[in-house]
């Protein structure tokens, strides 16, 4: 143990504070922009909150409504645009449906697979495990095109299935569960077998309850990754806008060279990250435990 030195501690904290500020800054800008009027955003005035002076919603005027009916405050304009122009509630619901379906199917597939790979003896087990490790190395972008073609031949493009199916077999999940199962003593399984349990009920009634910490860690990775995924939904959802996941809602306000609507866009971004932040605050201890458990820091 090193002895306590105030200077070293101050240095440590300084570095940590700077790091925290760097991480925090984009969030600060995001929330601040979601509160301000377009003018305040472009001219960089108004501080964090903006003046909240009444502003005219130009889109509303263009549709032929009188100006006094279209006057609103920036915060109201940004958040109502986020929920009306991009039907954000619908997107959030899609996000929940897709991430939960993916996670549940991933568990259904990876639990028995991990059990077979760690606790059962059969020929070719190591070879199969090596193949699984190898699959970890393939980035999804490399196989996106064939995946898209297969889904389109099956007529599944523009459906929930297209968003869920490619992710249902999680190699990482299988690997993670296998490593965890290896630490479960064989005696426990032998005892279950003596009591006459089938292999499947061992998986679901003995292994599953012991694996809860690992499952939580895996859930965090899976849900965060698929909630925030922009790439894949953008590829397979081209027809029906009602199937958009939350990140796709952001592009509603992009205008390329003609200027984007930053206010509503940042309001959308704020709404999208809130569920994750709330989930994090609730499960903070488990979250950190989960990440340290998997050794991915």
């Amino acid at each position: 143990m090193s002895h306590y030195s105030p200077i070293a501690e101050t240095c440590k904290h300084l570095i940590l504070i700077i790091g925290a500020l760097i991480v925090f800054l984009p969030f600060y800008v995001m929330v601040s922009y979601s509160l301000k009027s377009p003018k305040e955003i472009e001219t960089n005035t108004g501080g964090f909150w903006g003046a909240q002076a009444p502003m005219v919603n130009q889109y509303c005027v263009k549709l032929g409504n009188p100006v006094d009916q279209c006057t609103t405050t920036p915060i109201v304009f940004n958040y109502t645009s986020a929920f009306n122009k991009a039907p954000l509630l619908r997107y959030l619901l899609n996000g929940v449906i897709v991430t939960l379906s993916i996670f549940i199917i991933q568990v259904i597939i990876s639990m028995p697979a991990a059990y077979a790979l760690s606790k059962l003896r059969w020929r070719g087990r190591e070879a199969v495990f090596n193949l699984i490790l190898f699959s970890l190395l393939i980035p999804v972008h490399a196989i996106a095109l064939p995946l898209y073609l297969m889904l389109s031949k099956a007529g599944l493009v523009n459906t929930y299935a297209a968003l869920v199916i490619p992710w249902t077999i999680s190699v990482f999940g299988i690997f993670l569960m296998r490593q965890f199962f290896k630490t479960v003593p064989d005696d426990l399984i032998d005892a279950a077998r003596l009591d006459g349990m089938s292999e499947f009920s061992i998986v679901w009634r003995v292994m599953l309850p012991t694996a809860v910490p690992a499952l939580i860690a895996f859930a965090i990775f899976s849900v965060v990754a698929h909630w925030n995924d922009y790439f894949w939904p953008r590829i397979v959802i081209t027809g029906n806008q009602n199937l958009f996941t939350p990140p796709l809602g952001l592009r509603e306000f992009r205008g390329g060279a003609d200027g984007s609507d930053w206010g509503p866009m940042m309001a959308t971004a704020t709404v999208i990250v809130i569920p994750l932040i709330v989930a994090f605050l609730i499960a903070q201890k488990k979250f950190i435990g989960g990440i340290t458990l998997t050794g991915m820091k």
Binding site: P38, K39, I41, E42, T43, N44, Q58, Y59, K62, L63, G64, K85, Y148, L149, S152, K153, V157, N158, I235, I237, T238, G239, N240, Q241, F244, L248, R251, E252, F253, R254, G255, G256, A257, D258, G259, S260, D261, P264
Partner: protein, 412 residues
């Protein structure tokens, strides 16, 4: 019993008065065009209750729009109509995805009367057949911060580039650090093509890179003179638009399409738009930006195709076309819409009229032929960047270099 039921079902279906046809439409940039279509569709569904228009997920931009159509052509779920960037039409025509509109035009009796004129149709014509109907058009214009101009004692807005440079010097003398932004970095070498078209010179002629002439050298020299004479800062266009809105840049040369967002975001100063300056006199031509509507339907149902054509015509003429000007910074290239329906609108919105006054100058925004079109764009972009950052001062050498490099990338 079952027989009776099915007989009733058939009878009910057959006797439904309006037999609705579904068509699907894709377009880019939701925050610009959602409001346009919202406005148009009110009138459209009243006039054509028998046509059901379903909008697809909006493309994020022109490049993504083209990508999606190419992808959907493979997976076999193309929409009926798609809006594509003017310089992205060619690839869809070459690949046989876009369908010729000639059979439909042939059936129209009053086509020219409805405001479709030759210059407009040429923007969407390939091999002498019309494939695309331009939907929303932009042209380069000048944006001016009148408060800053007046402070520097400039009463008359510049008509040519030497006047712009003179204005720059006056502005600098009055303490303006950043007098001008000239949008050289806009997509597709649009401003390089502008300088050439102002001298009535296309950047591609007979499949060859056409700057091997006096006009090419003048274009490069003009750029150099503007950048040096104004000591222009090399801003990314996003920063430039923000700086102009914040009242830091006095003169901005950019597409008229940004007018809507500049007006929304600008500080408390008087802004005016004015015609794009020429080399000596007025410009002789300007490249058109924007997008055109293409028929990409894979359907063979004549009723559905006719419905798609009805929609195409609606959005490019009459009140449909007028909605483009009313809701965006773009303008409809339709003569009748601009001159009759929108006359009062332009009197009330003089900033939007600038581009309309330039409509007779409408020329093609040229796509570079061959598979390496994007690489050609990048080579020219890099060349212009070297002038901006003060790396290249010998325009003759640059001209020679560009001709060689681009020549290698174009199909022989």
């Amino acid at each position: 019993m079952r027989k009776i039921l099915s007989a009733i079902t058939i009878a009910v279906c057959a006797s439904t008065p309006v037999h609705a046809v579904d068509i699907e439409v894709g377009y880019p940039y939701s925050h610009l065009f959602n409001v346009t279509f919202e406005k148009m569709m009110k009138d459209f569904s009243q006039q054509h209750p028998d046509i059901n228009v379903k909008f697809r997920a909006v493309y994020e931009g022109y490049e993504e729009g083209t990508n999606i159509i190419l992808r959907e052509a493979i997976s076999g779920n193309l929409p009926d109509i798609t809006m594509q960037g003017l310089n992205r039409q060619a690839i869809l025509v070459e690949k046989g995805i876009a369908r010729s509109l000639e059979p439909f035009i042939a059936k129209e009796a009053n086509f020219t009367k409805e405001g479709y004129h030759q210059a407009m149709l040429e923007l969407g014509s390939f091999n002498n057949e019309v494939y695309g109907l331009p939907f929303s058009i932009s042209l380069p214009v000048g944006y001016y911060n009148m408060d800053m101009m007046k402070k520097a004692g400039i009463e008359k807005l510049p008509e040519n580039w030497s006047e712009v440079i003179a204005a720059c010097q006056k502005l600098r003398a009055n303490g303006v650090k950043n007098p001008v932004f000239w949008g050289w970095n806009i997509t597709g070498n649009w401003f390089m093509q502008s300088l050439l078209w102002t001298q009535d010179t296309p950047i591609i002629k007979d499949g060859k890179f056409n700057i091997d002439n006096q006009e090419g050298l003048i274009a490069l020299n003009t750029m150099k003179d503007i950048f040096r004479g104004c000591e222009m800062k090399n801003l990314a266009w996003k920063e430039a638009l923000s700086s102009f809105a914040a009242g830091e840049v006095a003169m901005m040369y950019w597409s008229t399409s940004a007018l809507g967002s500049v007006e929304r975001a600008k500080g408390d100063f008087e802004m005016k738009t004015h015609e794009f300056p020429g080399i000596n006199g007025k410009p002789k031509g300007l490249p058109a930006g924007g997008n055109a509507a293409l028929l990409v339907s894979s359907s063979n149902d004549p009723e559905r195709l006719q419905a798609a054509w009805t929609f195409l015509k609606f959005i490019t003429s009459g009140v449909g076309a007028a909605a483009v000007a009313e809701t965006t910074g773009y303008m409809p290239p339709n003569k009748a819409a601009n001159e009759i329906i929108l006359r009062d609108f332009y009197t009330q919105n003089p900033n939007k009229e600038t581009a309309v006054r330039q409509l007779p100058l409408l020329r093609e925004w040229m796509a570079y032929p061959g598979d390496k079109g994007l690489a050609v764009t990048q080579v020219i972009y890099d060349g212009m960047e070297r002038i901006v950052v003060d790396e290249q001062n010998d325009m003759k050498a640059l001209q020679k270099e560009l001709i060689e490099e681009v020549g290698e990338l174009l199909p022989q």
